[in-house]
Subunit: 355 residues, 4 copies
Amino acid sequence: MDFASDNTAGASQTILEAILAANKGSVPAYGADPYSAKASELLAQVFEREIACFLVATGTASNALALASLCPPWGGVFCHQEAHVMEDECGAPEMFTAGAKLIGIPGPAGKIAPQDLRAALAAFPAGVVKQVQPAALSLSQTTEAGTLYTYAEIEALTSIAHEAGLSVHMDGARFANALVALQCTPAEMSWKAGVDVLSFGATKNGTLACEAVIFFDKAKAANFPFQRKRSGHTFSKGRFLGAQMVAYLEHGHWLSLAKTANAHALRLAEGLAKVDGVRFAWPRQANEIFVILPGRIDARLREAGALYYDWSSKSFAPGVSPPGPDEVFVRLVTSFATESADVERFITVAQAASG
Amino acid sequence: MDFASDNTAGASQTILEAILAANKGSVPAYGADPYSAKASELLAQVFEREIACFLVATGTASNALALASLCPPWGGVFCHQEAHVMEDECGAPEMFTAGAKLIGIPGPAGKIAPQDLRAALAAFPAGVVKQVQPAALSLSQTTEAGTLYTYAEIEALTSIAHEAGLSVHMDGARFANALVALQCTPAEMSWKAGVDVLSFGATKNGTLACEAVIFFDKAKAANFPFQRKRSGHTFSKGRFLGAQMVAYLEHGHWLSLAKTANAHALRLAEGLAKVDGVRFAWPRQANEIFVILPGRIDARLREAGALYYDWSSKSFAPGVSPPGPDEVFVRLVTSFATESADVERFITVAQAASG
Amino acid sequence: MDFASDNTAGASQTILEAILAANKGSVPAYGADPYSAKASELLAQVFEREIACFLVATGTASNALALASLCPPWGGVFCHQEAHVMEDECGAPEMFTAGAKLIGIPGPAGKIAPQDLRAALAAFPAGVVKQVQPAALSLSQTTEAGTLYTYAEIEALTSIAHEAGLSVHMDGARFANALVALQCTPAEMSWKAGVDVLSFGATKNGTLACEAVIFFDKAKAANFPFQRKRSGHTFSKGRFLGAQMVAYLEHGHWLSLAKTANAHALRLAEGLAKVDGVRFAWPRQANEIFVILPGRIDARLREAGALYYDWSSKSFAPGVSPPGPDEVFVRLVTSFATESADVERFITVAQAASG
Amino acid sequence: MDFASDNTAGASQTILEAILAANKGSVPAYGADPYSAKASELLAQVFEREIACFLVATGTASNALALASLCPPWGGVFCHQEAHVMEDECGAPEMFTAGAKLIGIPGPAGKIAPQDLRAALAAFPAGVVKQVQPAALSLSQTTEAGTLYTYAEIEALTSIAHEAGLSVHMDGARFANALVALQCTPAEMSWKAGVDVLSFGATKNGTLACEAVIFFDKAKAANFPFQRKRSGHTFSKGRFLGAQMVAYLEHGHWLSLAKTANAHALRLAEGLAKVDGVRFAWPRQANEIFVILPGRIDARLREAGALYYDWSSKSFAPGVSPPGPDEVFVRLVTSFATESADVERFITVAQAASG
C-alpha cells in the first residue's frame, strides 16, 4: 500500500525492454543517435508542430534549464507560492538562472487566479531598476495540489503574461495525468493555450529517468545545449534517453499509463468519499488525492502498512476548514504501477477504522 | 570499426539486466532504496574504508559537484591545461563552484610534473586578496592523453597539494582502465595516494549512465546532498542508479570490462606499431591510443568506415615532433564492446595502406 | 521641500572636509592606510568590543556581502517580506550568495513577530534535501516601515534564530536614526541583542558613500576580503572611505546628524497629526513618516513643489484601513540636511489644503 | 619615493573641490542628477559620438560589469594571460558573468599578437557544445606590461574578433596615460579601432573613486542598469560620481594629469637607462617602468625609502634574458602626484649604488 509518490514505483516494463533493445552496436554519443532523433520526431507529432526538444533525466533539471532559458539573472519568475520550483528543488532555478528571484503568488487549490497574477505583475513594473525584472510565468499542470487548469484558465494566464512581456513555462511533471483527465490534446494543453516552454515529464509516469524540455519557439532554445552541457545534463549514451522517450510515446503507451494511474486515484477517492470523517482538501482531478483524515483512521492505515506523506498547505479553498487537532492532512498518489488490491485494501482499512 | 569513443558503445548486458531485475515493487525514492545502499556498501568494500558516496548519471556532474565541494567561488582549481574539466565541460566547474577559476598547468603526455605544480602554486600565495585562493588540485587518471600516473607520481603531487592546504580531486572517468593497467588496488590509486574526493567513472566502462562521487573524508561531503539536489542530479528513481553500480561492481564485473577494453587497445597498438609511418604521440597505457598517421593511411581507414576523432594537443613530449603537413593526429578508443574483428581489420587496412 | 529620501541630500560638510584633509602624500592602497585603520579602531570603540570590519561604498554591497558570508548557495535567508534586501536590491543577495533564497515573513508595520519567525522556520526543517537550508535571519533597523525593534524584540528574534542554528544579520541602513530614537548603545542594539553581522549604514546619514560591514564574530569574516574584492567593492584609494568613517564617528558627529534628521521628522509628524484627514500608517519612530493623505492635500503639496514618493505596503496594522479611492499613501523622509523652513512650509500647505 | 602604484596617490585637488561644490541642495538619487547628466554629455563629446555610459567606483567593477554585458555564463573571454581581469580581480569576471571562462593568450610585453589571437580562436570553434562559446576579446590599454597597442594593432585584433563574432572590451584603467603617449584621439583609441565597450579608468589618474563604462553600441547596454544595481555598484548619491567625472574631463584636466604622470616616468626611465646594470624588461611607453635591477641597487633604493613592487612575468620579449640570481625585477609607477624631487633622488641613489 505505497501511496507515497509516483516515483516510488519502478519503470514500465515496456520502456525497460526498449532500453535493452537499444543496446546494439555503436551509435554517436551526446544525443546524436537515431533513438534521440526518433524521440524528437515523435514529440513533434504528438504536439502537432515543429519544436526544439531536449532530453534530460530529472524533473528538476528540466524545470531549472527551462527557466534559465527564459529568465536572466536579474529577472523574476512568477509562480504559485507552493509550486515545486519554489519549494521542492533546493534552489535549482536560482542556481541555473544565476540568481533570479521566484515570486510566489497565493491561490486556493494550488492554482493562480488571473487577478492575482495581475496584482503580482503590477508590483513589478518593467524598468524599475531596484527590482528584478519580470521575465517568466511558470504554471504547474497538474498543480502541487493535484488540481488542473482548464484550457481557458491556462489561456487567460498566458495572455496576461504575454501582454506583460513575460514568457510562459509549464511544469508538466504530471502532464500526462492532466491530459487524460482533461481529455484535450497535448497541443491544446500547451502551445495552443500560450505555453512557450514545457517541461514534459515522463519519469513519474513510467520512464526510468527521462523528461523532455520542449520549446515551441525554437529561437528561445538557441543556448540550451550549452546550458545543458555545463550543468552536467547531457548524457554521453544519449540513446538510452531516446529509447525511453520513444517507447513512452509509441502506441499511446504514455496515455495508457496515465489513465491507469488516474483510474486508481478515482477509485481511491470514491472509496474514501464514503468513509465517515474523511474530508477532501480539494477535489481529486488526476492521480493525487489530498485528504484530511481523522487521526484514528490515519493511525490504523499506517499500522496496516500504508505509506503516504503528511502534507501542509496555505492553499485551502474558502469553505474548507484546515485540519483540526484530531485530524491529519495527507497526500495519496497513485501510479501506473499501483495495484488495485492495494487500493481496495486501503479503502477497507479506512472504512473499518471509521466504524 | 568505431574507435571514436568509449561512449559510443552501449551498456554491459549484465548491467541492463540488473536494471530490469530492480524493477520490482515500490521502494523509497531519491536514493533511500536498498539498491543504492548496497552500492554504497560495495564501494566501501572496494575501497577498503568508510566513505561517503553519491551516485549521479554523468561524468560532468560528478566532476563539477566534486570540485564544488572542495573549492569556494573565490578559489582556484589546479589541473592539467588539457584536462577534461578545463576543456570539455563547457564551464561546468565554473557553474557549480559559482565562478571559481581553473588554472591550467602544462606538461607532456597530459601529466602534471611535481615541479610544475610547485611553480603554479608559487604564483598563488595564500592570502593575496587580488588572486583566487588555491583550493584544490584535480588529477585525471587516466589523463586526457590516455596516460597514467603511477602510485608514486600521484603521491608526490598530492603531498605538494596537501602541504599547500589544497584538497585533491581525481577525475576517474576511466578509473577502471587505469586500475587494471597499473595492477594496483582501488585504495592505492586513490586515498592511499592522497586523493580526497574521487569521480569514480563507470559509464565509459559499461553502465548506462552511472558514476559515483566518493569522499574519503566524510566531513567534506556534508553539503553534497544539497548541491546535488539543486543541480538536478538527484534521481527520483534512485534504485536504477544503485542497481547499475551494484551490477558493475559485483563479481569484479567492472574489472573484466576494463581488461577487455585495455586488451583491445593493446592489440591495436601492437598492430599499428608495425605499420610504417605510424607514430605514437605517447605510449599507450590504458584504452586510448594517440597516433600520428600518414595522410594516406588515414584516408584509407576512413574510406573503409573507421570512425575516430582528429585530435590536437599542446602536450607532445620532448622528442616527438608534432604532426607534419601530410600527417593526421588522431585518437583511437576501445571499450568493453569493441569487437576483435574490428581491431584486426583496422590494422589490416592500415598495413595495406602503408605498403 | 524634498522629502523623497535621505539620499537626495548631499554629504555632511565636516565629512567632505575630512576627505580633503586626507588628500596628502601617498599611503598604501586597498585599505591598508592609516585612515582605514583609525576607522576600525573607532568602530571597535563605538561597539565596545573587538570586531572585524570592512568599509564599502553602498548599502546594497554591504547587505549582499554580509549575507553571502552567512548563507551558502543552497541556503535560505529569512527576512520581512518587504525588507530592502527582498524588494529593493534587484536580486543582489541572490547574486552574492550564488543563488540563495530569501524567504519573506509578513508582519504589521514592517516588523517580524516571534511567532511568525517560528512558523517560517518550522516550514524549513534542517536537513530536508529538497528545501533550501535555513541559514540566516536578516532584520532591518529601522524597518522599511520606518519603525523600530526594541532591544527586547531584537533579542527575542535572535534567540529563536540562534536556537535554530541561523546567524543573524542586521540591515542598519538607518542604524543611527534608530539608535538615537531608542536611546540605547550601539552594542545593545547589535551584538548584545544577538546580532552577528551588521550593515552599519552611514551614507543616508551624511557620508558621501561609505558603509561598514561589522562582524562581531571575527571568524565569520575570514572570507570576506575575497568576496569584497571579486565583487569590485575594494577601493584602491581606501583612505577616502576611511576618512569618511572617521569623520562620521568622531565627536559623535553621526549621532548629531541623526538627531537632526529625527527632530525634523518629529516636527513634521506633529504638524501633520493636526491636519484634518491625514492618517498615519504607522507611528513615526525615526526619520521616516508614512502617511495617508487626502487626495486634495497631496495635490496641493505637489503643486507647491513638495517631493516625496507614493508608497504601497502589505504591512498595515490591524485597525488601519488601507488608503481609500480619494487618498494617497506616501512616504516622507527627513535627513540631517533637511531645512526647518521646508518642514514648516509643508505643514502649512497641508493645513491650508485641508481647510 | 613611492613608486608602488598610481593608486597610492590621493586625488586631484581640483576634483575634490568639485565634490565639495556639488554638495548643495537636494538632487535626485541613483544617477538621475545633473552632475551625472553633465558627465555623460562630456564623455559623448570626448568620444565624438552617441554613447551609453555608466559611472562606477572601481576598475574591477567596471571591467566585470562590462564583460558581463558581453559574455554569457557559457561563454569565453579571450585576453592576455597576464591581463588584470585574468590575474588581479580575484575572479570578478567569473562572478559577474556567472561562471564564464577567461582564456589567456601568451604574448611578449603584455600584448596579444594577431596570429596568437587567431590560434586561440581556432581552438574554440563556435557551436562545439563541450566548450565554452567564444564571446569577447578583452584588450588592456595600457597593458599589464605598461606597453601600448597602436591604432593599427588594436584595429587588427578587433577585426579578427568581430569576424569571429566576438565583442571587444578595452580595459582602459590607464586609458589617459596611453592616450597622451600615443597622441591620438579617444575615439581613435576606442570605437574607431573597433572597441565595443570601454572601461574608462579615471581613479588611477586622479579621481577619488570614479570610472565610466562606455558602450559605443547602446543596444549592448540595455541590461547594464540591472547588473550594476544587483552588484551593489549604483551609488545613491550619484552626484558625487558625476561631479568627479565632470571635473576630470573639463578643461582637459584628465590629459594634464596623465601628461604629468607620463613625464615623470619618462624622466625616471631616462635616468635609469644611464645607470650601469639596469635593464629594461620592455620599453617604457606610459607611466609604468619595468626594470631589472642589480641586487645591490635594489637594496640601496629600499634602504633609501623607495617603495615599489617586485614583479614577475611570462612576457619577456625574445632577446631579454630573465632576471638572474643577483637581479631583482620590479615595477615603478608614476602618477600625477609624483614629485620631481623623488624622481631625481631615485635616479641619484641608483646611480650611486651602481658606482
